[in-house]
Amino acid sequence: MNMPTPARQTARRRSVLPGFGMSAAITTLMITAMVIVPLAVLGLRAASLGPTEFLAAAWTPRARAAYAVSLGASLTAAIASSVCGLLVAWVLVRINFPGRRLLDSLVDVPLALPTAVAGLVYSTLYVERGWLGRFLVPMGVQAAYSWLGIVLVLVFVSLPFTIRVVQPVLESLDRDTEEASRMLGASRRQTFLRVILPAIFPAVITGFALALARALGEYGAVVFISGNMPFKTEIAPVLIVSRLEEFAYAEATAIAVVLLAMSITLLVIVNGLQQRVARNAQ
């Protein structure tokens, strides 16, 4: 290799971050190999279709219904997951009770459990004969093989993200400011809305974005509880698998590209929102 040039020496001497060049190169290499190349292949495969073929594959009434199910259920689940995650994180950080450590470690279980198992367990619980279903179904709550069921498993698989993102922020929150707020005459509600929420809101949004991304791509858990009825509970990934079964790779990728475009759009919106919130907080 080349001897270090003067330019590089100055760069090395002046750079604040030690080993920046090396780490930047490794990062680029990793991201290229793990993310950009596969995505490029995805794009290329879909591009082998002409525009009309692409639309015929990815924009049929049935596919549109599947996107609606996927997006609707994922958004609902991400919102529910953010709210629940905030509550759980609050309890874990602020309240000391016996078994707290155990509960805290249980939070990560959904990450370790194969999601197909989660789907099977949920659907077994909520069917008419199941432990929960035998009470819920007579009350008219059909959680197995329904839209509600999809949302339930998606909350399950995305909950660790929303909890783990908010938790450290809550921990680092200075209790003095809350006390100060109370001392200065703010109500509990005002303290929460004006002091606590602005501090944790960016983290909540990050958790929401992670949960949303996680939910949109989920296949294993959902197929066991959704019933996969076309136009009702069929998610877009099931359509992708159907097309793969026909060895129609390009058509399958077309659906994947649409799904990907939708989730990237959503993530960009969420990111924008977060930046605005962060600016306002300053």
Binding site: S15, G21, P61, T124, G227, F247
Partner: protein, 372 residues
Amino acid sequence: MQRSKRAFFSAIPLASGLALLLVAAFTGCSSSNTSSSDGASRPKAVELLNVSYDPTRELYRDINVAFAKHYEEQHGTIVTVKQSHAASGSQSRAVIDGLDADVVTLATWPDVEAIAKSGLIRADWQKRYDNNSLPYHSVVVFVVRKGNPQKIADWPDLDHGNISIITPNPKTSGNGKYSFLAAWGAILAAGGSEADAERFVSAIYRRTPVLDTGARAATATFSQKGIGDVHLTFEQEAHLEVNESKGELEIVYPKRSIRVDPPVAVVDQNADRKASRHAAEAYLGFLYSPEGRAIIASHHLRPWGDTPPPPAAGETWPEIETFDIAFVAGDWNNAMKKFFGEGGVFDAIYQPQPDKQPAKQAGNQAKKQGGT
């Protein structure tokens, strides 16, 4: 900014060097692999990979042990057979994408044919073993609840009262495809028209509350979650399901059903490259031997050939009239296009009702509209 950019670019040679090293390591690995197995014309030990589908896991566990013993006695070579099981279609795609299978034993003809089309298997693969490379077959039967409360005896009984039916999605499952074809063919074989068959099959899927993506998921829905009155599945799967239910379920043989024909093939390119052809061919040939047939029968798959051995001593194979894919649809290509392809008969069943055209036309129409 400027400074960090320079540092970044100077690191690029280093990174590309790293990448090269990685590539070299990979190719080095694979070349050393091939040279070791290429060495002798009669290797002392051979390893085969049998890429199969879900319901054959138990069958091939037994076959592999018996075959290893048989092959060592005959040729003095120790064979270890590894198995891989998953949904048949995804296994087929895995082989096409480079899974190093020596032999494939898959659920449906299109799954093997797709590998042949990719060039890994020679086009004449069906001719190379007896009975078009179909060493065993099964039939689609009914599994019902204890005592058969809905009195289901044959296909027409399925479209009665409030009977609900469990069968996996034919678009994602081989088991589901065969159930669909069995229902269709049963109507034709009883003298019905294509229109009758379409009405019947549509009625069946309207009675199907859940479309699981795979056969074993459908089994769980029926036997564990207690959903549905009848489960359409392969004979050998039905036996497993009934045995595990401890008396809660029983099998009903309809008068007629479809012959389920899982094909087998040597993956020529892989077998030649790995110098495992001799063992791979012997392995599939073993499925036709008396010993192999007895093992197949013990797993409730029906071995090919005259006087098939019974599933167990003293038992007999229940009589059932069968028809094959040729009777239902001409051939598999036709069946895939007509029934399970995009906009085919199965899709038409789920088209929303307000369409003005009759169901089948609506499917084609939707495709055309999407295309413009």
